[in-house]
Amino acid sequence: MAPMALTAFETAQKVKAGELSAMEVLESALERIAAVDGQPGTLDYGDLTDEDRAKVHAFITLTAEKAIQQAEAVDAKVRAGEEVGPLAGVPLSVKDIFTVKGTPSTAASRILANFTAPYTATAVQRLEAAGAINLGKVNLDEFTYGSSSESSAFQPSTRNPWDTSRVPGGSSGGSTASVTAGEAMLSLGTDTAGSIRQPAAFCGVVGLKPTYGRVSRYGLIAFGSSLDCPGPVANNVRDAALMLGAMAGADPHDSTAAKVPVPDYLASLGKGVKGMRIGLSPDYMQITFPDPETGELVRQELPEEIRAATLHAAEVLAKLGAEIVEDVPMPNTAYGIPAYFVISRVEAASNLHRYDGVKYGYRTQSDYKDLKEMYRKTRAEGFGLQPKLRILMGMYVSAAQYAEQYYARALRVRSLIRSDFDAAFAADGEYRLDALLTPTTPTTAFKMADVYGDSVLMQYADQLTVPANHAGIPGISLPGGIASDGLPIGVQFMAPDFAEETLFQVGQAFEQATVDEDWRKAKPAVMR
């Protein structure tokens, strides 16, 4: 069995035991990358070739040299009988929104294309300390602003390994594609409205958005600071649990990182779901969006295949002894996207202020007569469409005359969404759920360029994932089936604050119970 066919957990066990060297694993990963990844993302890339259209393009910056050094260090430790971490020799890719000392940190934007941070993000530093081999930086939507990874300034953008004419989802599209295509065993992504879970669903891998504050944001280039969560992308639940355990916990560099003790997540596995209460909500079986013509809110049932996958997961769990609680009302779900539109853009516009050409990053190459013109040209040339849209809207809805009408109102909606979950999870409430089961996305992966440009419609792709970000609770997306178009369908579980253990427990039970189902046998196109 090729090393890259192993799980991260198995790999670390074998490397620790000296049965497999980190270097062999790394070589296997680099071979996969050479075979499937194609051109790395580059600024001002010309027209795509047919070959480009058949490749994954997960990476922006491959740091093979660094990875070799790390693998050698792990192997040397094993040979010397020294302690190696729980991720010893596991190849990892990192979304290029995290800073890594000495490696360009671009955020997939022209404005940071030349930026190399003098510090490493806490999550990355902890994963490396746990023995993970950092392969490099993977592509994403510019500053994470999108759900398809197409808005990257570094083209070709990442393509879906199941069907390279499709998007991998986003914004952590490079992360999920690299794991799906066998280039990395684990990837570090971020989730602000679904940016880990949605691409995990599109690419048929496991993606976890932890509780807000469970993983430090230090070194994560901010989008919506009150919503951003670093989280794991993995091939299976155990690997995701292993990865979260290695990077979660308090951080002196991030005061919003929770001081809640980090449990042994692996210990939560294999406990089964007997007696657990798993909820289903009709509010997650539809999407609501404004009619482009009239602006009226339109409700639309989810495609049958998507609903069926979720109901199938419920049946599997019921057979394992879980109690399925139907008709849990989550009445504010429909307002998640509008509220998110406002809150995330206010924070994003403010977070983008620092990119002004004064200190680092891009500065206009043309002449300017004064400071203001330097600002204008730098930002006009350095930012792509998505950051500009977010700045415009963020500035508008936080302006003194509109803030009450939009921003303050959105914050109230956010509390209402939180109260939906509080009611569903309350130990003395009517529903007393351990977890809520929903589809992850309203559709399977869309065609490249199909939705891009319609940022409103694309945003509604996050409707089922964004509530967890508003509420701060953890959510996990698991492969839950294959649609008739041959693409993966994701199912999502959400649980109360810091109940990641529940998600792993339920997720692994579902995974094990469905291991022999037919859809599990389907393989991504680039893996065939």
């Binding site: 995290f98 800073t99 940190s105 955020a107 940071l112 930026f115 941070a117 003098p118 510090y119 993000a121 944001r217 230090y218 070194g219 994560l220 280039i221 901010a222 919506g224 600071s225 009150s226 002196p252 560099h253 991030d254 005061s255 919003t256 206010v346 924070e347 403010s350 983008l352 202020h353 620092r354 002004d356 004064v358 200190k359 680092y360 400071l371 600002y375 500035m395 936080s398 302006a399 003194a400 803030a403 921003y407």
Partner: protein
């Protein structure tokens, strides 16, 4: 001509004297450091970094709030104040907006004429400082050293009524800041910065007319001068039928001139919103009580007590509460002496303050402790030593660190009041100076002082002046 009343509000920025900056571990004070040598990824706003609040800033800010009778909120929030400027590396300043650490407050300002002006505090919040820019040879330079230096912004109501009151407020604020030990409060070094909002109105009116804002006033005298100048200008404008416009004015101290920086017709929109990178600032009731309890007696309260309890004149009380060490020194010396506080006050104002100034130290740094001073005063009052010896004894205590009684003993400084000993000295002087004796006896009584000086010289100052005077008079008159 109408009589005008002046309406002034002061906006102060107080640099807290913490060791490190407000959100990172860079050194807070960069005075005389090379530009951009005291910076890190956090205070220069690199991508992905986060602020972590320095607790010492909260403590010092809360102490000031308590001293200003401001209500310390148990839950306050940090907010982002968004604007673009090259010296603001994040493009927003982390400040506090609507739910700041302090709510309300006031300072009862005693005026030299004996009246008291109540100055209300409208804003008291924590924030980070921005950097500095300078223009040189057409190039704009940025220095980030000051980014993240902790500040308290404190804004008064429109409660001050003259340039002198504004100056007095700053004098008392500076005294208070040093007294409670939260800021060096040096205006020249920018530890205490002040903008003044000035308007005028006819006496008797209660409307708030359009105000101007004076910036860049770097000393208390500059504040006084700039406000006086601006009031004159506003009166002139109004008297000539014009209207005062909402300008921002720049004070040029060297030229003593105000120049318009910009017209301020519309308020800037800073798009304040809660800083998501910091948790709400939660304090406990116990912690707050602790801060309030740790507050020392404040300068104005102590000044009032020195007047009531010690019955000191206002002049003495003011000087003896100028700073916390001298006030503590006075308090301790009065207690140790057990005598008339005014006598103690005189000794401190004449001798101790001089010694302190000569040595360039504060009262608590003197070797001469308040107990030593009290002992010396007692020795003088008890007649063991004379006044002059007392003064030089203070210097000896300061020099040697020995207690006064020991020095008196070792150096034989006790006053000679024994008649026979004094007479022997007097006889000797008279015998040695027959010409002067003759002159005195022929009517030149002005020579008496010269004879007294000889007695003191002969006894190295130890002669009891009163006893000596009597014996000398008798001897000179030939009655001895």
């Amino acid at each position: 001509m109408t009589d005008y009343e002046v309406v002034i509000g002061l906006e102060t920025h107080i640099q807290l004297n913490t060791t490190t900056k407000i959100f990172c571990s860079c050194k807070a004070d960069s005075w005389e450091d090379e530009p951009n040598t005291n910076i890190c990824p956090v205070c220069t706003g690199l991508p992905g970094v986060l602020p972590v609040l320095n607790e010492a800033v909260v403590e010092k800010g809360a102490l000031l709030a308590a001293a200003m009778h401001s209500n310390i909120r148990l839950t306050s929030f940090f907010d982002r104040k968004n604007y673009f400027y090259p010296d603001l590396p994040k493009g927003y300043q982390i400040s506090q907006f609507d739910m700041a650490l302090g709510k309300g407050g006031y300072l009862d300002l005693p005026m030299p004429d004996g009246s008291v002006r109540k100055v209300n505090i409208e804003k008291l919040h924590l924030e980070e400082d921005a950097g500095k820019t300078k223009y040189e040879h057409g190039v704009r330079y940025v220095d980030f050293n000051r980014c993240g230096v902790p500040l308290v912004e404190m804004v008064t109501g429109p409660d001050l009524r003259s340039a002198d009151e504004a100056a007095e407020y700053l004098i008392r604020l500076r005294q208070l800041l040093r007294w409670i030990g939260i800021s060096e409060a040096n205006m020249e070094k920018g530890h205490l910065r002040c903008d003044a909002n000035v308007s005028i109105r006819p006496v008797g009116s209660t409307v708030l007319n359009t105000k101007t804002e004076i910036k860049n006033v770097n000393s208390i005298e500059a504040v006084r001068a700039a406000i006086k100048k601006e009031v004159e200008r506003q009166i002139e404008v109004v008297e000539s039928g014009g209207k005062v416009k909402a300008w921002t004015l720049d004070w040029d101290d060297a030229k003593g001139k105000l120049t318009m920086m910009r017209s301020k017709e519309t308020e800037a929109d800073y798009r304040y919103f809660r800083e998501p990178d910091l948790l709400p600032l939660e304090l406990t009731e116990d912690w707050r009580e602790g801060v309030i309890a740790s507050l020392p007696e404040l300068p104005l309260a102590r000044r009032a007590r020195f007047m009531s309890e010690f019955e000191l004149p206002e002049y003495d009380a003011d000087i003896l509460t100028a700073d916390r060490p001298i006030s503590g020194y006075t308090e301790a010396a009065v207690k140790a002496s057990g005598g008339d506080p005014k006598v103690v006050s005189n000794w401190i104002m004449n001798e101790v303050l001089r010694m302190q100034n000569d040595l360039g130290v504060s009262a608590d740094e003197l070797v001469l402790k308040p107990e030593d001073l009290a002992a010396v005063i007692k020795l003088v009052e008890g007649g063991t030593i004379n006044n002059a010896t007392g003064k030089s004894l203070l210097v000896r205590v300061q020099e040697t660190g020995k207690i006064p009684a020991t020095i008196v003993e070792e150096e034989g400084l006790a006053q000679v009041s024994d008649d026979s000993a004094l007479l022997a000295v007097i006889d000797k002087i008279l015998a040695a100076n027959p010409d002067e004796v003759a002159s005195y006896r022929s009517g030149k009584e002005g020579l008496f002082g010269w004879f007294m000086g000889q007695v003191m010289r002969e006894t190295r100052g130890k002669a009891d002046p009163k006893a000596s005077r009597g014996l000398l008079q008798k001897a000179l008159k030939g009655e001895g």
